[in-house]
């Protein structure tokens, strides 16, 4: 089987700023160059490598996730894939028609109606007019725009805008699908619909390259992943492995003001089996540090908490006093905590600390460890209950239908 997508030793260099923005700047510069007062070659530091020696392959049926922080080179990679940019060195080879779910409403003109914009955006994305006409009703139905299709787009809400754009892109029928952060458009209902659509495309055998900050989406969709850092591959492998590595890096980079006390110090907090865990499953956190307390106050106790960083509230906290764990007094210490992560998918911070129950203060605390909880089986509500649901008796057995097929009755040929 030939790969659908090949990146072979790709390097991409950008210029910092622009050398000559206008002819007014260019003419004196050229004059100086001729006279010889300025070296012909520009200073090397004006360039930087956005991508350095990136190689990967995507086979049909594979879903590749690309993760990394801002400026890691994710968007550059996608732009090289879609031919918007050309590599400085190396080879990008694609085998088939590329459909990019990037800037799905980028071509919209505010003064045109939704209908006109469907044709415009569709054409920009590479669809023929006849093709758009054939799929028009389906696109409108998927977007849920309804009667507003003949209203100028400037009167649309931003959600409607994005929904219509996504619907056009989702009907591209590409051989290779490239997705950049567009799964977060619209409300929760539309997001689920969009996600189902992408899942359907991926399951249909089209190779997918996905860039997202929604790590749970990456974990769920991707068969493999690469983690980029400063334009180079830091690690590659399974999605979970890359996400673990990524979160680990984030934790190392975290510099926040911590409560410290010279007598008890936390030196590290690590997740032994990785920082990513599926909702409802167990994870193990190891905390170590040193202590040198001469006269330990009775009110002090070791403690541990899981914080929801969005609200700042503890979703769970526990003290050593409750569990019979003594306060470390002298020398090195190490705790191991195993937690059943019965929380909804999302990002959580884990933190160990010493609690003073008299003053209700943290005496000293460890760094926060960012944990990503993924969705395994979908549920609503605030608590994971690992529901096991079996049907002992059913009046009329119903075949399982993938969610994307619920959305409309009509199917494209």
């Amino acid at each position: 089987m030939t790969p659908s997508l090949v990146f072979d030793g790709v390097w991409k260099r950008f210029r910092r700023g622009q050398i000559h923005d206008s002819l007014r700047d260019l003419v004196p510069a050229m004059f100086r160059r001729i006279v010889g007062r300025e070296p012909a070659d520009h200073v090397d530091s004006r360039y930087f490598w956005a991508l350095r020696d990136l190689s990967f392959e995507v086979m049909p049926g594979e879903v590749l996730g690309i993760i990394g922080g801002n400026g890691a080179g994710k968007s550059t990679t996608l732009k090289l894939l879609t031919k918007i940019l050309e590599p400085t060195a190396g080879l990008v080879r694609t085998n088939g028609k590329i459909g990019a779910l990037i800037e799905v409403s980028g071509g919209f003109h505010q003064d045109l109606t939704g209908r006109q914009n469907v044709f415009l955006q569709g054409a920009i994305m590479g669809m023929r007019k006849a093709e758009i006409q054939r799929k028009f009703d389906e696109i409108v139905e998927f977007s849920g725009i309804g009667d507003f299709i003949d209203t100028p787009v400037k009167r649309y809400s931003s959600g409607m805008n994005a929904r219509l754009g996504f619907s056009i892109a989702a009907h591209l029928e590409p051989d290779i699908l490239i997705i950049d952060e567009v799964l977060a458009v619209g409300d929760a209902e539309f997001q689920a619909k969009a996600f189902g659509r992408v899942q359907g495309m991926a399951k249909g055998g089209a190779p997918v390259v996905l860039v997202s900050h929604q790590l749970d989406r990456i974990a769920e969709l991707c068969t493999k992943a690469i983690l980029l850092e400063k334009g180079a591959v830091r690690t590659s492998g399974t999605a979970k492995h890359c996400i673990d590595e990524y979160l680990h890096g984030l934790n190392l980079n975290r510099r926040e003001a911590l409560v410290t006390d010279a007598r008890i110090q936390f030196h590290g907090i690590v997740a032994r089996d990785g920082l990513a865990v599926f909702s409802g499953e167990q994870m193990t956190v190891v905390v170590h540090g040193t202590a040198d307390v001469n006269d330990p106050p009775r009110a002090w106790t070791p403690a541990f908490r899981i914080v929801d960083p969005k609200t700042g509230h503890d979703v769970h906290s526990v003290t050593g006093f409750q569990r019979g764990i003594p306060l470390p007094v002298r020398g090195e210490f190490e705790y191991e905590l195993t937690l059943q992560m019965n929380v909804p998918p999302g990002v959580y911070d884990a933190q160990a600390f010493i609690w003073d129950s008299e003053t209700n203060r943290h005496v000293t605390s460890s760094e926060r460890l960012e944990i990503e909880v993924f969705e395994k089986m979908q549920f609503y509500g605030g608590t994971q209950m690992n529901t096991k649901w079996s049907a002992a008796k059913l009046a009329s057995p119903v075949a399982a239908v993938p969610p994307s097929k619920h959305t409309n009755g009509r199917r494209s040929a």
């Binding site: 923005d21 090397d44 400085t88 590479g126 007019k129």
Partner: protein, 336 residues
Amino acid sequence: MVVTASAEDSSRRYPQDLVARRGRRPSEPQTLHYGSTTGMTSTVSLERPPKPISRRDSLATIVAEVWHSRDLVTQFVLRDLTIRYTQAVMGFAWALLMPILIVGAGMMFRVVVATLSNTPLEGSSIASLAAKALPWAFFAGALSNATQSIIGNSNIVGKIYFPRESLPLASVLAQSPDLAVALVILTVILPFIGVGLSWAALWVIVVLLLLVTFTVGCALVLSCANLFFRDVKYIVQVALNFGVFATPVFFEPQMLGRKGAAIMLSLPLSPFVQAMDMAMIRGHNLLDVVTVATKKGPVVVWSPWMLAYALASAVLALYVGVRVFRRGSSRFAEMA
């Protein structure tokens, strides 16, 4: 640091010649082998920018790509027209505004010249002014729109891939309904001001096709240049404001005398402008030489060579335009 052609690598051909790839940490390698399709390979330091791998598309590829995206060009044209005409209260009257203004300015110019030189104003001069105003209005309108076409669409140029030629091409084509409307109205008016059309007027079709080709070529170069040098649009505006004097729109070439006429007619846009007058108003076959008798002797105001000149400049402009544009378009997304 030094660029050296290495003999042992010369057998390698792009893309297999990218040898500095695996097995080295991305932060370490400072040398990179690369080459071109000619088989030559060189070693350069990565601290110094390696020459970009030049990928030269053949003309056939480019034409095929643009032809393949004709629906996109149509959509861009429709977008431009819809915005221009549905928003404006005057609607299609806009199409006539530019030519009318040019004819008005030309008439003032003619009256001044006639008064100063004490010669009577020719009756057919308003008709020939109008005929010559049309190609100029088209050229000026198309170029000022097209120069901005890439910058004005930078939001999509930087995000979505499509043949970028479609943008300036659509800008030029969006100007053609204006030309068509003005041409039809002029044709209808001509009999009323005493100008009869002859079969020679069919030359107008050839001339306008050449004009569109020439304009597309210029539009490709200028839209690209405006992306790299943001002040190109001001230069274009100034050039278009005064460029009308570099064409025989406001006056007849014979007014400048024999030498002056020759110089005037050798300017790039003159054949198109002059041909409109010759074929449509004067009814001359463009394959004939046309001379006008003046006080200082006969002056050639048209020759078949000018048709060849128009053809050559149209083809050359398009070729240069396509080449320059393709060369620049690989960097559009970085500049836009």
